[in-house]
Subunit: 602 residues, 2 copies
């Protein structure tokens, strides 16, 4: 599938030249705005933009010579004309939306280019799933570039994914039209240790002349960081402090600073530019992960740029970080990222460069949103049945599947418990003294110890891995299940009631995945995510309402955590310390090894 509705610059050149020279009339002229020039870092009032074939033909003080009777004219009336915004690194699946619905949600916010890593679906459906995301991406009226996922599984030997990604898969993907590079190379220990597969994936990407995304999630800026850089990743969005940002840029990487729904890494890093005065060209803004609620209520890249400005960054510099800097990084500076001849005509009109209201969005030369309303069709891919039926439980689960047998004759046991930490991705490895009834170890709501289970859902093995989790504060009889369960995306079920746990798990098996909350034997919330158990093809506004109802239901069950759903969905992420659960058992991520749930009796 090739990019739709888009000719190359070369294909358009005869017409663009004729329009610029005044021999032909433009399709569209935007009249008399303030041209925000991200090449020179200037604001130039009183300029016109002429557009033909979806690309910029002319920018100058007067496009009268290329305005004909058939030319559509938009009056900028002195407003700022800024390039469409670029999100340099993000996961569409985090919005629980398909690419089409994600696009529809962010278009009114002025995002016209996205660099997306469909890492989640890769774990569920492998290369074929990546291809489906890629194909739907190319159908959209805005630019969605795909980064080929690099690490599925993220922790080989510690979990079983639906599919695995090989270096050969990466090499094949590099030949697809919408692939812009390699998705974040999360296996940084692998790169540092010279892991052959990781280096082969990077090599396939570099050999294709594309960009290797980085992910160095460690505060270590010594030789280990240097070794990672020497391996080839060209950017990193895992920095959290000014020193991280500076170190990355000094070493020739681009520092991607993120403001996601739950990531706040711009304010702490942008001081490298605003206070230390470093050349801003290597600093880039991104979101990484945005929930549907954020998209509906707060915005997308406009929210990030606005935030960067609020952090003290010059507005035009902040815009460079979301336009030309990104384009240059991915080798696309002659395609997107500035309002100059030949580029795709992606233009936003805004009357305030600080508050950044997104009043009019043009992509590829046509109006796609005005005043917060998306005015364009975002076509859906015809997702095949096997992408819609990915929850394979193998059997109907019963309460008994969640029973944890105590050692013969024990009355109490000491269990290893996953301790959730408020507002943090890492967990703590806790221990709890738990009662045994009829040979079964019981949770303890008084001590905030609930059960957690990882239910295998890719190969219908019927496997259930049981454990304990602390920190949610659940009370009464409840259960919550989600097929969003990073990174291998089995099903995480947490509950105080084993029968509710079985009901919740079976329910997700019926609907093909999503998130459900149960209380006293009744469903009190449901977010259907039929595509791969990860995404909805309903509009963001509907998904956001359901997601909010799900959060409300968690609170109704006693949960008092912020971002409790995110905590839930990350408890199988066996690359972040300290304790996680996978289909293979309980994992101590400090040592990257499996441990027993119950401590041997003294």
């Amino acid at each position: 599938m090739e990019q739709k509705n888009l000719k190359t610059w070369a294909q358009c050149a005869p017409r663009l030249v004729a329009v610029a020279a005044g021999r032909d009339a433009a399709d569209l002229v935007i009249r008399q705005g303030a041209w925000v020039n991200v090449h020179t870092r200037e604001i130039l009032t009183g300029h016109d933009i002429a557009i033909a074939e979806g690309r910029i033909a002319f920018v100058g003080p007067d496009a009268g010579h290329c305005t004909g009777p058939e030319t559509e004219v938009i009056e900028a009336n002195g407003r700022y004309m800024i390039p469409g915004l670029c999100d340099a690194h993000m996961h569409i699946e985090s919005g629980m939306l398909t690419p089409a619905e994600f696009a529809r949600a962010v278009i009114p916010h002025g995002t016209t280019s996205m660099f997306t890593d469909p890492h989640e679906i890769a774990n569920v459906l492998g290369l074929a799933g990546v291809r489906m995301m890629h194909d739907e991406a190319l159908m959209q009226p805005v630019n969605i570039f795909t980064q080929m996922p690099s690490c599925a599984p993220s922790a080989p030997g510690l979990e079983t994914t639906g599919f695995e990604i090989s270096a050969e898969d990466v090499a094949e993907a590099m030949t697809w039209p919408g692939i812009i590079g390699l998705g974040e190379m999360m296996n940084f220990p692998g790169v540092i240790n010279g892991d052959a597969q990781m280096l082969a994936e990077i090599a396939a990407t570099q050999d294709a002349g594309k960009t290797v995304g980085g992910h160095f999630a460690s505060p270590d800026l010594g030789p280990r960081f240097a070794a990672y850089v020497a391996g080839g990743p060209a950017d990193d969005h895992e920095g959290t402090c000014e020193a991280d940002a500076i170190a990355r840029v000094r070493q020739g990487m681009r520092s991607m600073m993120r403001l996601g729904s739950a990531w706040y890494d711009v304010e702490t890093q942008i001081t490298a530019v605003t206070e230390k005065g470093l050349d801003p060209r290597s600093f880039i803004l991104c979101t990484d992960d945005s929930h549907s609620g954020t998209l509906v209520n707060d915005g997308h890249m406009n929210r990030v740029v606005r935030h960067a400005i609020a952090c003290g960054c010059d507005p035009v510099v902040a815009l460079q970080m979301a336009t030309i800097n990104t384009a240059t990084h991915f080798g696309l500076e002659r395609e997107i990222g500035s309002i100059t001849p030949g580029r795709r005509a992606d233009v936003i009109l805004t009357s305030d460069l600080t508050a950044l209201p997104i009043e009019h969005v043009i992509a590829r030369g046509r109006t796609i949103a005005k005043d917060g309303q998306c005015l364009v069709d975002c076509p859906h891919f015809d997702w095949p049945d096997h992408a819609r039926n990915t929850v394979h439980l193998g059997k109907t689960l019963a309460a008994g599947d969640f029973e944890i047998a105590a050692p013969e004759g024990a009355n109490r046991v000491t269990a290893n418990v996953i301790g959730v930490v408020e507002n943090q991705a890492p967990t703590r490895a806790l221990k709890a003294d738990l009662a045994v009834h009829s040979g079964i170890v019981e949770g303890d709501t008084e001590a905030d110890v609930a059960q957690i289970a990882l239910v295998e859902r890719h190969r219908a093995t019927g496997g259930v891995t049981n454990g304990f989790v602390s920190g949610f504060g659940y009370t009464g009889n409840m259960a919550m299940a989600s097929t969003v369960a990073h990174d291998s995306h089995h099903m995480i079920v947490i509950g105080t009631s084993r029968s509710d746990m079985a009901l919740a798990a079976n329910r997700l098996g019926e609907v093909g995945g999503g998130i459900t909350v149960w209380q006293d034997g009744k469903e009190i919330a449901m977010v259907e995510l039929p595509i791969a158990g990860l995404m909805s093809d309903s509009p963001a506004s509907e998904v956001a309402v359901k997601a909010q109802a799900m959060v409300d239901a968690m609170q109704q069950c006693g949960c008092k955590l912020n971002n409790a759903y995110m905590q839930h969905s990350l408890l199988a992420l066996v690359v972040i310390p300290e304790l996680r659960i996978s289909d293979l058992g309980l994992v101590d991520v400090r040592k990257f090894e499996r441990i027993d749930l119950l401590e041997p009796s003294q």
Copy 2:
């Protein structure tokens, strides 16, 4: 032919990672210098650089962990460590040197990357000639990237080149390993008018993902300039004033500011950065044309950077303009242009960032020059006979070949005369009243009117086009001939004596091309240029001595012009007004049409 002595980053990555991590020892460590970081625009004292496989493995305060007993150590002793310098646009032939000898001349000046347009040889030997230049380029110990020439002939219909370049040639060249883009698109009227061949050449380049070089030699910044930009050229080095530079960068082009042997366009344009404060990232330094004497006596890119600094540019910004800005423009920022991991280890040591003495030059990890001495072999291509024998006169010329017949019965005639203008490339269209003796029109040394002839040398037609030229000031009996005769490179012979003109022309036929000056029937200077009649494979120092002797000989014949040799070699350049001579006759470049030499009698 692939690039010699150079592995890709991906090929080296396992070793680079191992070195950076401290598991393997580097090949070379540069200890304790001031790291000039062109990404952040910082100078960081007290840094080490570790190098392996010709690439940077590690940069940090201490490379002790990757220094082994076999590691070569160079003590920087606090000196600045700057990236090897890049010349963003240049013609090797202008140095009258082969790529190998050009490289040998510039290596001690710290130039480690050149972007070269072998436009001259393309006119003489066509695509095959470009390939020879390209192949010799890839044999060198420094990086010579080739821009595929775009315009041969430069003025179709007004001259006959040895070979012509087609859009198919361009497409073929884009598949060669050393081709970085399209050479300067000089036919800017063609682009503006939508000429199909010019747009096809640009399309072939863009489709290959490569960079289209520009050449917009006009002060017009209106719709004609806009139309040229819309056609695809991504840079331009023909700007001469601040407004030119600003207009180019605003439109998304890179402004290449040149300081060549005879070009002085940096001082007049760099104020866009130093005074107007524009983002410097889109400004780049280049030489375009350097004579061997400049290379021997003054320098190369070090001279340009030094000059930019003298013009008030911050030294690190000036270095960015000759390193990372250039690399980014050509899509090579992960290969060259900064001292960061993975890049080719091209490093200069200098003790002063303003005077910029080039004390130690390292390319691809080995020392190639110290204190002005080239310490490395620059291998010669085995130029075939047909590249060494390109002066095909078809016959031995005699004085009679330079006789200009007067109209029957005329005693005096009015002739159109090419008027050379001191220090300018354009000529003036003059008229002169000339005497007729025995039916032959005679020049007039009293009035400074000499004869000029364009001698066909590509197809042995024996063709001689005669005319008159004024401005050199030649006296006595003399002649000067040159096979450097832009752009089609036939032979230009100028003289006050027809017999000396014949002697000079025949002499160049014997030696296979070059430049020769004759006085009173004797040769008084000779620069042999055996390769295509354009280049010598002797060292620059020898060529520079001969070239200086040639200039001295011109003065000995009465010439008082500056750059008189350049004036001589440009008199067939039928794209610059007003009057030129070609193999097809006298050309009025104001109208792009041929005119008669002699005016009709009244």
